[in-house]
Symmetry: C2
Subunit: 505 residues, 2 copies
C-alpha cells in the first residue's frame, strides 16, 4: 500500500469521505488511489479557493470535516483566503498539500516554496510528513486535530516520495475530544448577575448559534443576540427573535443600547468590522460588562440549558405578502425570497451592500439556515454553497451573492454544474463596489473624486453574469423586474439543478 492510499484509508477510518481537490503532479498518487479507495469521493474544483470554501461549507452543514487536496505552496496559496474564512467559522478541515519529493527539495525548482509558511496563518495544526511509515499516524492526528473544539484547519504536507513509497499501517479513527461543559460556578455567577447587575442579554456564537442553542437561549427570557459572523445560524420566522448584531458600529450600538451585561456564549465581545477615525472598536455600551458563560471551545448549548428557566419561544413575525410586479428593489427581491424559499433552505450569503433589506425580509421567511460571511474575505459565498449542497443533497441551497464578490471565485459555478448541485445563485448586480463608496466616506477620505470613483466602478465594462454562468455550464437568466425575478426563481426552485439569476438592482 502506497503512502497516498494509506492516507485516504486513514481519512475513511476517521469518517472523512469527501475530498475537494485541485491536484498537480506531486499529488498524482492520491488521485490514482481514488480507484483503490472507492469510498473516498473526489470533487474537482478549477481553482483552489473553491476547494477550501467548499470544505468550509461542508463542515458547517455536517459538523464533519471534508479533506482538501492541493498542489504545493502556490496551490495552497490560492486557497488561503477561504481557509481564513473557515478558520473564523471554526470549520474542521483536513488540508492535504503535496510537496516536492524530499530529494528534489534541496534544489530551487520553479515551484519550490515554503509550504509550511503558507499554511501556518490559517491552520491550527501543521505537519510535514517525515516518513511514509508515519502516514497513518500523521493522518489520524490531522483528523483529531481538525476536530479539536471549536474546530480548525489541520494541514498535512506530504512530500511526493512519501506518497509513492510503501507506507506503514492505516491510522485508526481518532478519539474525538468533546467540548468541555463550563463549571457550574460560572452558571451561578451569571445567574446572580442577571438578577442583580442590570439589564442583560445573551450573545451567541459557534455551536450555540444553533436551533438547540436558540431554544435554550429563549428559555432564559433574556434578549438574544447572535454573532453575525457565526458559521451557521437558523433564520426565518421562528428565529427572528435572535438578532444579528449590525455591521456598522453605530447601528450595533443602538441595538445594544442600555445593556449592562452582554453574556458571551462561544463568542468574543462584538466589535466593529473595521476601525474608523475618532471612534472606538467596541460596540457594547461603555458601562456594559461581558461575562463569559461558555468559551469558544466549550459547550454553549449545555451552558444555556443549565441557565434556562423555561420561557417559550417569542412570537413570530408574520409572513410577507408576495410583492406586485414592479421595479426590482432590494425589499421586493427580499420579499419574493421570503415568500418562495422552502423550509429548510440553506442560504449562503455574501450580499455586502445589499444585505440589510434582504436579510430583514428573510426574518419573515420559512425556517431556514444561513451560512454567513465569517472571515470577511469576499469570494466565500459560491464555494460555501458548493460544499453545503454536497453535504445536504436533498435540500435547496441558495447563494445570495454580490456581483463584485462573486468574481473572486466564480469558478465554483463549474463545480455546481459538474456535480449537478441544487444551488440557485442570485447575483445582486449593481455594477459597483457599492460598499466601498459607503466605507470611503466613513474613513474620512473626503468627497469621492472622479479617479477614486473609477476604482469602485465595476460596470465599465459590465459583467454579464448570464454568459459567465453559461460559460461554465450553469443555466442562467436575467431579471430586471420583481415579476421576472419571481417567475425565474419559481422555475429555478422546480429544477433541482444549478441555476443562476442575475438580478439587476
Amino acid at each position: 500500500m502506497t503512502g497516498a492510499e494509506c492516507l485516504l484509508r486513514t481519512l475513511i477510518e476517521g469518517n472523512i469521505d469527501l475530498c475537494f481537490m485541485n491536484p498537480g503532479t506531486s499529488e498524482m498518487q492520491f488521485v490514482s488511489a481514488l480507484d483503490r479507495v472507492p469510498s473516498m469521493r473526489g470533487v474537482l474544483c478549477l481553482q483552489e479557493n473553491v476547494c477550501s470554501g467548499a470544505a468550509d461549507g461542508y463542515a458547517r452543514m455536517t459538523g464533519r470535516p471534508a479533506a482538501t487536496l492541493l498542489h504545493l505552496g502556490p496551490g495552497l496559496a490560492n486557497a488561503l483566503s477561504n481557509f481564513h474564512n473557515a478558520r473564523k467559522a471554526r470549520s474542521p478541515i483536513v488540508n492535504i498539500v503535496g510537496e516536492h519529493s524530499t530529494a528534489h527539495l534541496r534544489y530551487d525548482a520553479p515551484l519550490t516554496a515554503d509550504v509550511e509558511a503558507f499554511a501556518r496563518p490559517v491552520s491550527g495544526w501543521v505537519k510535514t510528513l517525515a516518513s511514509p511509515l508515519d502516514m497513518g499516524e500523521a493522518a489520524r492526528e490531522a483528523v483529531a486535530e481538525c476536530l479539536r473544539p471549536p474546530g480548525q484547519v489541520a494541514s498535512l504536507i506530504v512530500p511526493a516520495d512519501h506518497s509513492w513509497s510503501e507506507a506503514g499501517p492505516v491510522g485508526a479513527a481518532p478519539e474525538i475530544i468533546p467540548r468541555r461543559v463550563p463549571d457550574a460556578a460560572r452558571f451561578e455567577a451569571i445567574r446572580w448577575a442577571v438578577a442583580h447587575a442590570g439589564p442583560a442579554a445573551l450573545y451567541l456564537g459557534g455551536s450555540a448559534a444553533s436551533e438547540a442553542g436558540l431554544r435554550a437561549a429563549a428559555a432564559t427570557g433574556l434578549p438574544v443576540f447572535v454573532n453575525r459572523y457565526a458559521g451557521r445560524v437558523p433564520r426565518g420566522r421562528p428565529w427572528a427573535f435572535a438578532r444579528r448584531v449590525a455591521y456598522f458600529p453605530e447601528f450595533a450600538e443602538v441595538m445594544l443600547d442600555g445593556l449592562r451585561q452582554l453574556i458571551l456564549v462561544e463568542a468574543e465581545p462584538p466589535v466593529s468590522f473595521f476601525g474608523y477615525p475618532d471612534r472606538r472598536s467596541t460596540v457594547t455600551p461603555e458601562e456594559c460588562s461581558t461575562p463569559l458563560l461558555a468559551a469558544q471551545d466549550e459547550d454553549g448549548v449545555a451552558a444555556l440549558l443549565a441557565l434556562g428557566v423555561g420561557a417559550p419561544l417569542p412570537p413570530e413575525p408574520a409572513p410577507l405578502e408576495m410583492p406586485p410586479d414592479g421595479p426590482l428593489t432590494l425589499s421586493a427581491l427580499g420579499a419574493v425570497l421570503a415568500c418562495l424559499l422552502p423550509e429548510g433552505t440553506i442560504v449562503s450569503e455574501e450580499m455586502v451592500s445589499s444585505s440589510e433589506p434582504v436579510s430583514a425580509a428573510l426574518n419573515h421567511a420559512a425556517p431556514h439556515e444561513l451560512l454567513p460571511v465569517s472571515g470577511g474575505s469576499i469570494g466565500q459565498c459560491l464555494p460555501v454553497a458548493v460544499g453545503a449542497a454536497l453535504a445536504c443533497p436533498d435540500r435547496q441551497v441558495v447563494a445570495l451573492e454580490a456581483d463584485g464578490s462573486g468574481m473572486y471565485s466564480l469558478q465554483a459555478l463549474w463545480t455546481m454544474a459538474r456535480e449537478n448541485l441544487q444551488v440557485i445563485t442570485i447575483i445582486f448586480a449593481n455594477r459597483r463596489y457599492r460598499i466601498l463608496e459607503v466605507e470611503m466616506a466613513r474613513t474620512g477620505s473626503g468627497p469621492v473624486g472622479p479617479r477614486a470613483a473609477e476604482m469602485m466602478d465595476i460596470g465599465r465594462p459590465s459583467l454579464d453574469w448570464v454568459r459567465l454562468a453559461q460559460g461554465m455550464g450553469v443555466q442562467a437568466s436575467r431579471a430586471a423586474t420583481a415579476g421576472e425575478f419571481r417567475s425565474q426563481l419559481q422555475s429555478a426552485l422546480l429544477a433541482r439543478a444549478p441555476r443562476l439569476i442575475e438580478a439587476l438592482i
Copy 2:
C-alpha cells in the same frame, strides 16, 4: 498631507506611476489620494492574483516596478501565487497592503489575520509601518529594496490610521543599487576552463537572457542554453540558436549530453521541474561541472562581454510556410502564429501540454519576446499579459493559454476589456488537464483508473471560453480548423483591442 498621499508621492519620486489595485475599506485613503496625485495611474483588477501577475508582467517588460494595492491579509493571500511567480522571475514590485487601524488590531475582527506571515514567503523585504511620520522613508525603502538586484517583491503593510493621519515628508527617489560586475579573475578561470576542460556551453538566466546577453553569448562561439523559466527571453529566428532547456528531464539530458562544463550566467544549474521515482533531479551530465560566470545579482551581460571573442550570430532558421486549411493541430496552430505574429510581439506563455510543438514553430517567427512561466504556479499568463500590455501600449501582446490554466485567473480578461489592451488571448482548449495524464504515468502511479481520469477531465461540462470572455467584455470567437484560426487571428491583429480565440485542439 495624509499618509496615503505621502506614499503615492514617494512612489512617484521613485519612478513608480502605475498601481494595480483591488482595494477595500482599509485602503480607501489611497484610492481617495489618486485624485490628488494624478500622475499615479490606478488599474482596477477584480481579483488580487490579477494585480500581482500584472505587476510581474509590467516589471518584466520595463525593468521598473509597478505597485500593487491589496486589502488586508486575505486580499494579499489571493495574490500570493502570482507573487510566487514574480519572485521566481525576479520582478521588482512594491506591494502595499492595508491593515486594520492600530487601535482595532487588538480585537479579533473577522478580517484580522497575520499579514506579515502571509507576505513573507513571497517577499524579499517586509515592513509594517510603525508611524505615519515614517511613511515617506518606509516607501522610499520599499522602492529601493524591490530594485535590489536581481529584483524582488517588497511588501509594505500600512495600518489604516497611518493612511488617514498627517504624514511626515515625502520620501526622495532612492539610490539604485547596481548589479555588480564579477571579478576579472572569474573570467580568467572560465576562459582557461573553456580552453582546456572539455566541451562547454553557456546557461543564461535573468538579465543575461536578453538581446544584449544573447549577442554577447553568441560572440563566445559556445553553445547557448537558456533557463526556460527566465522572466523574459528574446525568441524568433535570430535567437533560435539559444535553446531553452526542456521541461522533461530526459529531454533536457539529451540536450546537454556530452557537456563537461555548463557555465552559469545569472542562473542556478538546471534541474527537473518535479522529482520522479528512481531518477535524479539534476539534468546536466554526471561528469559536467557548473562554473559560475555571474551570480543572479551580478551583471551577466558585462561578464559575457568580458568573455567574448567576436563570433557572429549563428545562422537563422527559415520562415515557415502558411499551413493549408485543415485540422487545427498544434503544429498547424504554431505555424499560423509563426507566419502572422508581427515583429516585436510580446508572447505571454502558459500552454502547458501544448507548449513544445508551438514553441518549436515560434523559433521560425519574426523576432519577438517571450514571457515564460517562471514559478510554475498556473494562472500567470493572462495577468502577465495585462501588465505587459500596459508596459508597452504600442506593441501587440499575445497570451498563449491552456484552458485549464486560464481558469485560475480568468478575471484578467475584464481588465483587458476595461483598459482596452492590445492583447489577443488564445485558449488551447483540449478539455483536459492533459499534463497530469502524462505526469501521472511518470510518478509511477500505474494505469489511470476511471475515478482518477475524472479528476483530470475538465470537459464535463465543457468550458465555453467564448461566453466567458464575452461575459467580461472581451470579443471572442472559436476556431476548429487551421483556416478558421488563421482568419480569426488576422482580424484580431487588425483590431488593436482585446480579443480571445478559443482554439479547439
